[in-house]
Amino acid sequence: MSANNPEYDFTWCPGCGDFGVRRALEFAMGEWNAKYETPMANNVVVAGIGCSGNLVHLLEGDQPYGFHGIHGRSLPIALGVKMARPELNVVTVAGDGDFLGIGAEHIGPQAARNLNVCAVIMDNSVYGLTKGQASPTTAQGAVTNSTPYGKLETPIDPLELYLTLGVTYIASSYSVKPRDLAKLIFDGMEHPGFSIVHVQSPCTTYNDTFEVLKGNKKKGIDPTAWTIPDDHDPSDRAQARAIIEQGGVPLGVIYKDETRASFDAGADDIRERASHKDVATLLAAYDL
């Protein structure tokens, strides 16, 4: 809402990957509204804490509803919104620290439930807003503000984690091409279940990986990003695992399981089966 609100004083650093993710999300919500003929107000963006979470205030144009909560809790807040109002399009935006560090406990349960929200994760392998500490995806041995003698832990592989936990839609991308990213986010929104679009979104101040992602022929740097071939079958779990095990940053849809019912579909099923009683009837069960 910054456009009509000069008081808002947060900015991303020049060149931040999150700019591209913001644009991609705007495209995806626009496409959603066009397809389903819904107003922007039917979209809810639930944000985590950190640079990435500020995306909710920096969206331009027609404004969706936003919820900028507390650190690590974007998923359970989104669960509340979605299960209260399943007709809403609920998206969460969070960084690697928020989502995979303090908030990691919430991924498994939402995967098990197949909660019908789309999580857009901006991974820069660093805690940027607190000025450069190690995150769960920071490389082992990396010297950061908080690991002066090198990071001791091995980094987690988020894509492998998602697949293992049973997330039913997993896509991977980078923030370099917003139009391409928007397609994956829209596809994630369309997916009837829990979708995660994991985006490499470099931090130009503390961990600028743009060059590594895109490669630089002059310097002899091979790109870590690579496009998933067209013949990949995302419904095949073994193939999805093979893609992840190839390493680097795959671009595209890795895994998609459309056979499982979503959490709200399950809730609808309960509503069908359970008999709803009015308060007078409920009280009468305790009559003397």
Partner: protein, 573 residues
């Protein structure tokens, strides 16, 4: 003691021996025929076994507390006999299994052996041992066995064999004690003319929430709040409603906030450890101005503490569960009946002021089964949120006053923000905004000053003022002291924050306000002192409720030790 108009029966044994159901059955049967009854239960935190005891107090007039002295003890094992016989009054009766050898040097009590299990087996229903006990008790308390038979017929309606076996068990128990003199003569019940429920505190909370229009519930299992989760999962069904088990209290509170943001009346229930985990989320609700109800059914703490015992030690954390400047509205029911109304009030407050409200219950209330007047739904108004219906570009957090709430899908899109924010909901660090918004959030508490309160003998300079589930025991102590002619007054409210202004005014006029409460620090007394009330606590932290007689003695001592002028006034008849 023939002619005594009330009776206290205690059942003690191991978990799984039917101890818990025995007291409830007795109370339910007694209430069913027009007596007043109330149960007390305390048990260890394990599935089967462990020392468990329950108590039923039955009277011809309404009862307030579990009762101090036991008339009849039913001891299911030797350990229970040893532990509990000291609480049986002189002339009281102890029923024991033949496997237990009674102490020959215990002439004050009449010890009767009853082969519960053996008699039960004769009925072909080995689980009918409880009914053998009830049959015997019907003789001892002089309550016709027919009362229990009717209860059995209703409870097991349609299961002829079970009914027959249980009726036979009742008869066998009665026959076994046929020659024994009754311990008490309750006489004929004097049934109330109004409609009644027989219900536990936790269920009354759940029903209050239902009447208030709860639509969304997430909760994590935790003693003693679990029955509320179970109730909601079973009954909060149907269009637009959702109840489910959370994976943690962090998930409970944050999902409740999400649902509230989306427009639902939302609630969660927990106990101390879960409440602590919710702290940050409750702060978010306060900051983002999202209505919801958080029930804390207190148990002993801190940490895992005493999961199945009672304590009133979460008041300070209920007022300030979150870091930073906040003071949550708190409502603490004092009786099972109040559990219903307090929950409705909590929802009304939450929706009116657009903020989380804490409902502070406790173990004794949660597990207490009691006959209560049936709530009159039509006379219990329900308030709904004022929602925004205007145009986009709305200032949701107008600095001047509470503003209607926009809902997703509708006009006025904004960002609910846990960071300090401006009128749009966008993050800001401007000092003037933090001042405005802090004052806006605290200012809303003014909307909640409609709480009711009890006030008796207003002119007395010393007042007794309990809070929460201690109300009943304290009231009995108060009545004892009044009978002695002590010049003391009575004040009570379940609206602990904000306190009703008129009540506060009255308390400020007292020389001394005595607050009996179940915690070490004297938490409510310290809150009252911060409001300049001259309050002193009488504390107990055993995990058990007050005994009225002991409490009366402590009040006498406190008044005697008070500055002379105050003490003199009190004993002047």
């Amino acid at each position: 003691m023939a002619g005594r108009s009330e009776i206290v029966v205690r059942f003690a044994g191991e978990g799984g021996q039917g101890v818990v159901t025995a007291a409830e059955m007795m109370a339910r049967a007694a209430s069913g025929v027009g007596f007043h009854a109330l149960t007390f239960a305390t048990f260890p935190s394990q599935i089967i076994g462990g020392p468990t005891w329950t108590q039923a107090r039955i009277s011809r007039s309404p009862v307030l507390a579990p009762g101090d002295s036991v008339d009849i003890l039913v001891a299911f094992n030797a350990a229970a006999y040893e532990e509990h016989r000291v609480d049986v009054r002189d002339g009281g009766v102890i029923l024991i299994d033949p496997s237990i050898t009674p102490d020959p040097n215990d002439p004050g009590h009449r010890c009767i052996t009853v082969p519960f299990d053996e008699l039960a087996k004769q009925t072909g229903e080995s689980r009918a041992a409880n009914m053998v006990v009830m049959g015997g008790l019907s003789r001892l308390v002089n309550m016709p066995v027919q009362y229990f038979k009717e209860f059995v017929s209703t409870r097991f309606a349609g299961r002829e064999g079970v009914v027959e076996a249980n009726h036979m068990a009742l008869d066998l128990g009665l026959a076994h004690l046929a020659e024994e003199a009754p311990v008490s003569d309750l006489g004929e019940p004097d049934p109330p003319t109004y409609k009644q429920l027989f219900i536990k505190g936790n269920d009354a909370v759940s029903l209050g929430a239902m009447h208030a229009g709860v639509e969304f519930y997430m909760g994590y299992p935790i003693s003693p709040a679990t029955p509320i989760l179970i109730y909601m999962e079973r009954n909060l069904v149907g269009p637009g409603r959702f109840a489910y088990q959370a994976t943690s209290e962090v998930e409970s509170i944050t999902s409740v906030l999400g649902a509230s943001f989306a427009g639902k009346k939302a609630m969660t229930a927990t106990s101390g450890p879960g409440f602590t985990l919710m702290g940050e989320g409750i702060g978010l609700g306060w900051m983002a101005e999202l209505p919801c109800v958080i029930v804390n059914v207190q148990r002993g703490g801190p940490a895992t503490g005493l999961p199945t015992k009672t304590e009133q030690s979460d008041l300070l954390s209920a007022l300030s569960p979150a870091h930073g400047d906040s003071r949550l509205p708190v409502i603490a029911p004092g009786t099972v009946e109040e559990c219903f109304y307090a929950t409705v009030a909590a929802f009304n407050w939450a929706e009116r002021a657009q903020c989380p409200v804490i409902l502070l219950s406790e173990h004794t209330l949660a597990e207490r089964a009691q006959n209560i007047p049936k709530p009159d739904l039509a006379a219990t108004p329900v308030e709904n949120r004022v929602t925004y219906q205007g145009k986009n570009g709305y200032l949701r957090y107008d600095a001047r006053e509470l503003s209607p709430m926009p809902l997703p899908g509708g006009p006025g899109a904004y960002t609910a923000n846990g960071s300090e924010h401006d009128s749009y909901g966008d993050t800001t660090h401007l000092p003037a905004r933090h001042v405005q918004m802090t004052e806006r959030r605290f200012g809303k508490l003014k909307l909640l000053e409609d709480g009711t309160f009890e006030s008796e003998r207003k002119a007395a300079k010393i007042a007794i003022m309990p809070w929460g589930g201690s109300k009943g025991s304290v009231r009995e102590a108060y009545d004892m002291l009044r009978e002695e002619g002590m010049d003391i007054g009575w004040n009570y409210t379940m609206y602990l924050n904000p306190l009703p202004p008129k009540l506060l005014e009255e308390l400020l006029s007292k020389d001394l306000v005595i607050v009996p409460e179940l915690n070490y620090q004297g938490q409510f007394a310290s809150v009252l002192r911060s409001l300049r009330v001259n309050a002193e606590a009488i504390t107990q932290y055993t995990g058990l409720p007050f005994k009225a007689g002991q409490l009366a003695q402590r009040i006498r001592s406190m008044i005697a030790a008070a500055p002379k002028a105050t003490a003199k006034q009190a004993v002047k008849v």
